[in-house]
Symmetry: D2
Amino acid sequence: MLGPQVWSSVRQGLSRGLSRNVRGWASGEGKKVDIAGIYPPVTTPFTATAEVDYGKLEENLHKLGTLPFRGFVVQGSNGEFPFLTSSERLEVVSRVRQAMPKNRLLLAGSGCESTQATVEMTVSMAQVGADAAMVVTPCYYRGRMSSAALIHHYTKVADLSPIPVVLYSVPANTGLDLPVDAVFTLSQHPNIVGMKDSGGDVTRIGLIVHKTRKQDFQVLAGSAGFLMASYALGAVGGVCALANVLGAQVCQLERLCLTGQWEDAQKLQHRLIEPNAAVTRRFGIPGLKKTMDWFGYYGGPCRAPLQELSPAEEEALRMDFTSNGWL
Amino acid sequence: MLGPQVWSSVRQGLSRGLSRNVRGWASGEGKKVDIAGIYPPVTTPFTATAEVDYGKLEENLHKLGTLPFRGFVVQGSNGEFPFLTSSERLEVVSRVRQAMPKNRLLLAGSGCESTQATVEMTVSMAQVGADAAMVVTPCYYRGRMSSAALIHHYTKVADLSPIPVVLYSVPANTGLDLPVDAVFTLSQHPNIVGMKDSGGDVTRIGLIVHKTRKQDFQVLAGSAGFLMASYALGAVGGVCALANVLGAQVCQLERLCLTGQWEDAQKLQHRLIEPNAAVTRRFGIPGLKKTMDWFGYYGGPCRAPLQELSPAEEEALRMDFTSNGWL
Amino acid sequence: MLGPQVWSSVRQGLSRGLSRNVRGWASGEGKKVDIAGIYPPVTTPFTATAEVDYGKLEENLHKLGTLPFRGFVVQGSNGEFPFLTSSERLEVVSRVRQAMPKNRLLLAGSGCESTQATVEMTVSMAQVGADAAMVVTPCYYRGRMSSAALIHHYTKVADLSPIPVVLYSVPANTGLDLPVDAVFTLSQHPNIVGMKDSGGDVTRIGLIVHKTRKQDFQVLAGSAGFLMASYALGAVGGVCALANVLGAQVCQLERLCLTGQWEDAQKLQHRLIEPNAAVTRRFGIPGLKKTMDWFGYYGGPCRAPLQELSPAEEEALRMDFTSNGWL
Amino acid sequence: MLGPQVWSSVRQGLSRGLSRNVRGWASGEGKKVDIAGIYPPVTTPFTATAEVDYGKLEENLHKLGTLPFRGFVVQGSNGEFPFLTSSERLEVVSRVRQAMPKNRLLLAGSGCESTQATVEMTVSMAQVGADAAMVVTPCYYRGRMSSAALIHHYTKVADLSPIPVVLYSVPANTGLDLPVDAVFTLSQHPNIVGMKDSGGDVTRIGLIVHKTRKQDFQVLAGSAGFLMASYALGAVGGVCALANVLGAQVCQLERLCLTGQWEDAQKLQHRLIEPNAAVTRRFGIPGLKKTMDWFGYYGGPCRAPLQELSPAEEEALRMDFTSNGWL
């Protein structure tokens, strides 16, 4: 397997040829960040008494840092961000910034329900070291989250953010798809650099890539289950829960796609679908954390109300890995 | 129309005969609160710069206080609670406590995503004057919110709450129905006194009333659109957004149902369905606040990302009131 | 319990006062049929080799005929009509006409996917004795079944039908709700007399009754689970699968509602919710037929692909009846 | 562009290497048909008086026959099969058989709601010339269409069919996904050769290919919008409404995928997404037929209740083609 450095140059040569640097648009130089690549959405470790375990977080990062990831997503849905206080959210970003290799990107989930709170969280996350902000759609009032409302929300956040903004659509959690027409409008904002789409509809991903082809706008697949298909349609990477446990394999799938080895990519992709479903839709974060325990990371408990897996669930989870040759 | 005092005795005589007093279970006397009656879910007024306008809040309460409501719900979905900071949430409850008549109930929405945060918010709300806590289902991880998880969550909250707990299921916002079997289990908890169900499925409401008939457990309809049907099936009241603008009429519907005047109740209910849909499902809080402006209350703007109605929407909203004879 | 004759006069005095006679609009006299009352949607008995068992059909009708039903629905969803050939559909209607008491109404389900086929089936059913046609929404192309398309469909059918037409909306089977605005438009057609709504949203039922109050238009609840609530909102009867097994009880619920005995109605309604769910949503026609076997009717097998209940399902089905005191 | 003959050999060399011949399994030789390739789902032309226009059908076939399709699907959802009588269904198949080139495959949609009717239709279609039967999931009783029921249904049909069976899952029409576990079980039946999946979830398509890799089982994408992604995941072709109007382009996309020209494939795929959505999900068969008129085929009217496009819809339809350079 390639090391991170070599990997980085392969990636640069193969991705959409964007020459973005890792710096904010607000710096005045108008340069954007290139977000192409694979990211694990880092989980938040808790102690037995449900305190954030920053030591375990750092240990996980040290291990993950040896893999050729483009960077790390902190406080995506897998980070249990809705269970963290504002200060915990910032402290987690700060600790990850310090624990991770310097040459990687840190995408921090800064979404809140209100526009104002999202702006404030985004600014704060920039201050503690985030390279870009990944902003989930507000969703509690989904019946009123029209394209116009979402465009207004994201425009305001992007206007005021010192770091580039990545749109984040995750209908399994929010019950809401960021509409394609809203994505198209937002892609023209100079401080919005891309999107993470976790919905799994690759026709939609293809359409977004197509409609935004004249903008500097990149699309990341939100899950390893449709990573290869997303590459085929023009996505440039993925934020994959599965990369927390099968990181090398997800990065290998990236490499096979970028180098056009589609047959091998297909075989590998096939073997990742069930494990990926197991740590996402099927068993959620409790499943992901349990699997992390198996693969040498610290998973540990979730905060309530998320519950531990039952023995039967744990057995089914294991089967999804063993039947595909990963355990 | 009956005044509040007379009204209260009518209600006591007619509701399910529960002799609950307004005091917490945790007081050691084992007495529960009787929540039967009508509640407006109070909106949170904002200034033009999106600050909470506590003065307007108090003015609204003074006007609403002249109507024969059983009490007030603060920070239900119509209170824009996901847009408020923790301290704003508490301050709003505190101000409402002071502004409202003494002989009414204050139900405060204390739900958060994590169990721990919900417990803390519930305790704090009790300290600033809430009579009972209305706890919405956590929902971001809805795929893992099994009956077991929800039972665990609510049990923990009820165990630690100094005030009685009211379950709150609102699938239009949460994408999640609190399962009937979980409601049944939770109805046996000594500190859980009832439920607000906003889903609109009155068969379900009837089943919940039926299954919990041996517990001291009361069900409130979550919307005026199915208030009469809910009374027919055994609900004891309602938390109705529409009561913020047509409060007298909603209370009259209550009286007609409680006194068995079903024909008149039907006629009144019919005329409330469209206005109710307009200020809830169809136009949301922006619609409700706009209507409040028309009816002599302070509505004002919502916090972003909620947007003002378009002129066409405002026209349609008005039509839903005029065509039923309310404007 | 009242006998059918007495019952009929009670019903006439209590229902919405419509003086409709049982004759078609096309007779030129402009008189409509009054469809108020309770109907079992008759099941289609099959032999062990999946032939229609007309003898058992007649036996069931003879037993059902002793109950104070307003009439019978043939080839609603519970009649397995999608599994019958056109000639079987007509033969079943013909046999029911002969086996049922003369003074009852025969509503025959004549819906097909195409407008033309629906017209032809409606005409044929009139010829073999149907009093009115109950026409389900076409649904295979539900993405194109706009209000305009459905209005066109039903208008054509009603124009050409020699017997009155009853609209039929059953989203659990069709994935489609007949929109309220379409119902309102269609309620003005002289040959459309009412609607069976099986969706269970009584707010919607109330709105339909309200919007069509100036037309001769009657609404029937499509299931016993929300029958009482539907009466409360202005429906005039119900087509209830449960009436195939607890027919006397469903008729008693009708009587309690029509005579304003709401407390007793509520108690009875409560005990019918679970059995009703068991023979509809939960276990479908196989559950209904199994229960018919228990209650002295002929249930028998369904046509494939409908499968028999598993032993565990049968046990759960029985529990839904025993726990409510019906077995 | 390659001609049909050359094309066929390219396809044989590139598809999954299955050496299936075009003959039924029931012939006793145990050889299966290879269904790899592109198929237009042929529309059924109607005259102004809604009669089947067999002449126009043949004309369309003659034109379509010049393109390098693997064959033709008759009476998929785009064939308006639910609007045809049984004898029309058979006559259409018969006419297509005669009008189409001899060396192509004829897949005939033979699904009905009952198992017995499906068996009979399948046998009849074989008699009038179908090479394989494409059997849609029964759906009216979707609440009871468990894996067990669907396995029973398809097994019976495949047991009794003289021609190979292709499973057909189209949730937009049926409200039902054929479950992956049922597909896996059915893939082991000697007379079930593959599946058309129109759901658009390519993760699911990948999983099906993966789980059935040890069987002679082929998957066809059910729409051009996700054709490239489906090839990437292991599908061997597609049944694409869009191929009725942009047939050469869809076949070119096939060729680019089969020859590993993924970059060009991506560009072409991108330009097909909006036109494809326009003639399927967005405007349905009326949109497809209108477009056929534009592209030199006979589209004509649909049977009622399907309605013509409004002028505004027609304009939007045209825009979806012009904005992508196809008109």
